[in-house]
């Protein structure tokens, strides 16, 4: 199906227009992005999947050795600080790489879906130091390759990843009657069981009970994380012996192979309430806070018919007339706002990479060798620090101030998605400030009216065009394009 509005396709289903990038022309072109995106290696983790696993396990064993020495009365502050510094640097590089991925990728729909699912299956780098390294790995390994396949496959990969088990405390949960519980007094942790039902599958208020939450948690027992190898393991010593009843089915683990949780995930994925929950959430994210019922219904039908094939669900969404009506019903979240801003400015990859380099240089600045240098060194260091601060204020620092720092959702429910959260006085002044800063730094040579055309094309209201053209300076004109209602809506 040819798209009635390619501009809307880029703004509503991608990260906005970028000069020189052809907006998607039909539904198949949008859907084709998914296969292509899923097969490409993202820019993070920086050292690749197995490389990151090596890094993470090395850092974890360093931390463990230091902790052991500390307990023995021989703390090694240098090792601890160096390790913390490395984890912080790795996170920053990956977070910048995530921004770069979204900015530079021509596969806007795929990138937006990746963000949607990472948010749906939230994990956070703030959980612990190793998580700074593991969450980026999680997105690249568990989420991104599977967003066009079956929901069952995506759900299983997300839940059965060390990042999720650590984030929702599954690595601390043991069956109340398990061998380990009897010996150590440890017990059940319901965190993952609850979020699995409430957030990941059936949805809040869909009729399950506290008994179901407990049942899910019991079925999940035995799953844990081998911290040394950073692998998911099944520990029979942690597992609660069956049978456990959940939503009318009894999970027995007859074979004793610890695979009852796999059956549970399949059943939850196939539950009609899950289809309703996920389809509604997709529509609320992409189209409007009040999801049109007939659109959700069409997607649920496609879900049922295809047994949860996500590409078919997206196809049903994009093929529906309501997917192309009423533009501007959603407020971009800060990450989308920033990414679309950099895209509209057509910031070259090299310039964006320089921002990260400036931030990295700011780190080296703290080394004792540099501190001991002469006054010329001092001036150079101040310059370095200034550049690092500026780069941060343009990117990760601004996301923090606007309330959407990379891989740091406020809760397992992910970042909020409603207009009432993102259209507030302080949010607006933060966005104006950011717009003004990038306009001054990257927009000095641009013509505001041409920039408006590049950023919004036919999505700009004529009156906005008039106001922009009359702006008292080019910088303020560029600022107003980025701060305009049309640019902040999608």
């Amino acid at each position: 199906m040819a798209l009635p509005n390619p501009t809307l396709a880029a703004i509503r289903y991608g990260y906005g227009l970028r000069p020189g990038e052809e907006p998607p022309r039909d539904v198949e072109a949008l859907l084709a992005q998914i296969g292509q995106g899923a097969s490409e290696r993202p820019r993070f983790p920086r050292e690749g999947l197995s490389g990151r696993l090596d890094t993470a396990t090395r850092v974890i064993s360093l931390l463990a050795a230091e902790a052991k020495a500390r307990r023995a009365g021989n703390p090694n502050e240098d090792v601890r600080k160096a390790t913390q510094g490395e984890a912080r640097r790795i996170y920053r590089q990956d977070a910048m790489a995530r921004l770069a991925q979204a900015i530079h990728s021509p596969l806007g729909f795929y990138e937006r879906l990746a963000s949607f699912w990472v948010d749906h299956f939230s994990t956070s780098v703030m959980k612990s130091l190793p998580m700074r390294m593991i969450v980026p790995l999680y997105e690249a390994q568990a989420i991104r390759p599977r967003i066009g396949g079956s929901f069952t496959g995506l759900l299983s990969a997300a839940i059965l990843h060390p990042a999720m088990l650590i984030y929702l405390d599954q690595d601390k949960s043991v069956g109340p009657d398990s061998a380990v519980a009897r010996r150590t007094g440890r017990g059940l942790n319901e965190n993952l069981g609850r979020e699995l039902l409430e957030l990941h599958t059936l949805g809040a208020g869909s009729g399950y009970t506290q008994d179901d939450v407990r049942a899910a948690a019991l079925i999940l027992t035995g799953l844990s994380v081998d911290n040394r190898a950073m692998q998911v393991v099944y520990e029979p010593r942690f597992a609660e012996a069956g049978p456990v009843s959940l939503l009318g089915r009894t999970y027995q683990d007859d074979e004793g192979d610890g695979q009852d949780h796999v059956l549970m995930l399949e059943d939850l994925a196939a539950n009609p309430k899950t289809a309703q929950h996920i389809c509604g959430k997709l529509v609320r994210h992409f189209i409007a806070d009040n999801a049109p019922e007939e659109l959700v219904g069409a997607m649920v039908a496609a879900w049922t018919k295809s047994h949860g094939n996500l590409t078919e669900v997206y196809r049903a969404m994009l093929g529906h007339p309501r997917a192309w009506s009423d533009p501007g019903r959603k407020i971009k979240r800060p990450f989308e706002f920033m990414v679309s801003g950099f895209r509209a400015l057509d910031l070259p990859e090299r310039n964006f990479a320089n921002l990260l380099r400036d931030m990295d240089d700011g780190d080296e600045d703290e080394s004792p060798v540099q501190k001991a240098m002469d006054m010329a060194g001092m001036a150079a260091r101040q310059d370095t620090r200034k550049k690092a601060g500026r780069a941060n204020a343009l990117t990760l620092g601004a996301l923090q101030r606007m309330g959407q720092p990379v891989w740091q959702p406020p809760s397992p429910a992910g970042f909020p998605d409603e207009e009432s959260v993102w259209l507030t006085p302080s949010q607006l002044s933060e966005r104006i400030s950011w717009a003004r800063t990038v306009a001054r730094i990257f927009g000095q040579k641009m013509e505001p009216s041409a920039f408006l055309e590049a950023a919004l094309a036919d999505a700009a209201h004529p009156e906005t065009g008039r106001v922009i053209a009359q702006a008292p300076s080019k910088v303020h004109g560029i600022t107003m394009v980025l701060a305009s209602p049309e640019f902040n809506r999608r």
């Binding site: 001054r440 000095q444 303020h476």
Partner: protein, 392 residues
């Protein structure tokens, strides 16, 4: 946006310290040694089209009162008389000591060659590139750096987060920012209000943002309290006191279509603060060798409009301040305000080229040869050593 402002102060402190220690490699010895390279120039771009007829009011012109029934003042209603014909807007009272000391002049009825379209963007481009038309992409102040005879005079700085057009180009110039770059001027806020007028949810958020302290802080930065412009001028003054000889920055807030009085008072206050702060920061000796040139892309309509403001015009006003200016005069050839003397029956007729004012100051401060000025810095400009702006 929170940039590290403390750093800038420490950078200034560092330069001051380095001066006394005379040991820091970053401060070139030549900049302290030679007297010939001791003159300074500060350019201030007044973005948004400053209403020269409001700042320096021709109350002696018989047509003035009728053109400006609300905005026009007389000495008996608060205008500060300058010479019996022109008077200074009381919002600039802080500049009067400079006028009395012969350190302040104004040049009336000047403009760039830009005509007819009255677009801020094109007007500012022409003011900054110093050319006759479009196509030139380097700033005249940058091109000047290559033709200053004495190398010691060449260090230039843009007080901004990035190089503005006037100093952009192939020649080395530095830029430093202060927090004040993020302050929004009154006219910029007014434009944002217009931008959001058609979207009630955004309009409401903007209204509240202006009222809420924390949001307003990031909207106005320190600009509202006047501290922002002080920071910027102190930074410029500190740099010029040490090894820099040319500095440039902008003051926004001059696009006064609606409710001009309040907006104009704030913008004039910022300009006055900038000039007085530069004088204080430079100190007596350096101030004597300094010229501050404030200029705008074009003037505003001679007549008030229907919303207590003025619209885009042509002939404008330049401000000259500093110990090195021919002071205490309103310079320029006054065209008169009767309807037949107005350009298109609406704008003050330009009788001089603002680029000639700038050229005169470059000649006076740095000895740039007239041939270089008319060929390289301001192509197409007529200028010689007999310029009116050198005689004062």
């Amino acid at each position: 946006m929170s940039f590290d402002n403390g750093f800038l102060l420490s950078r200034r402190g560092f330069l001051a310290g380095a001066c006394c220690a005379a040991a820091a490699p970053i401060v070139t010895p030549v900049s302290f040694a030679a007297m010939p390279g001791d003159n300074r120039l500060v350019t201030i771009i007044l973005r948004g089209a400053m209403d020269g007829l409001d700042l320096v009011q021709p109350y002696g012109d018989p047509a003035f009162a009728a053109l400006r029934p609300k905005l026009g003042l007389r000495p008996d209603t608060g205008l500060i008389d300058l010479d019996g014909f022109f008077g200074l807007n009381p919002a600039a009272a802080a500049l009067m000591p400079l006028w009395q000391a012969g350190e302040l002049s104004f040049v009336h009825a000047v403009s760039t060659p830009y005509r007819d379209q009255r677009s801020h963007f094109d007007g500012q481009d022409m003011l900054e590139t110093g050319g006759n038309g479009k196509g030139e992409r380097t700033g005249w102040l940058n091109r000047t750096l290559a033709v200053i005879p004495r190398s010691g005079s060449r260090k230039a700085i843009d007080i901004n987060t990035s190089m503005e057009l006037i100093l952009s180009g192939p020649n080395q110039a530095d830029s430093w920012s202060s927090q004040s770059n993020f302050a929004l001027a009154e006219d910029e806020i007014a434009f944002l209000d217009r931008l959001y007028a058609g979207d009630p949810a955004f309009a409401k958020a903007m209204e509240e943002a202006k009222k809420t302290d924390m949001s307003a802080d990031s909207l106005y930065a320190d600009g509202r309290r006047g501290a922002g412009i002080t920071d910027m001028a102190r930074l410029a003054g500190g740099m010029l006191r040490e090894d820099y000889r040319i500095a440039s920055f902008s003051i926004n807030g001059w696009d006064t279509h609606v409710g001009q009085q309040g907006q104009f008072r704030k913008a004039v206050g910022a300009l006055s603060t900038a000039i007085v702060t530069l004088k204080d920061e430079l100190g007596e000796d350096a101030w004597k060798k300094t010229v501050v040139l404030a200029m705008t892309e074009f003037g505003r309509t001679a007549r008030e409009n229907g919303t207590n403001g003025t619209d885009h015009g042509t002939g404008g006003l330049a401000v000259l301040a500093g110990g090195a200016v021919p002071g205490g005069k309103v310079l320029g050839k006054w065209p008169g305000l009767s309807e037949d003397k107005l350009l298109d029956r609406r704008d003050l007729m330009p009788t001089g080229d603002v680029r000639e004012v700038a050229a005169a100051m470059l000649y006076k401060q740095f000895g740039v040869e007239p041939g270089d000025l008319t060929a390289k810095v301001f192509p197409g400009l007529g200028f010689d050593k007999g310029s009116l702006f050198l005689r004062g």
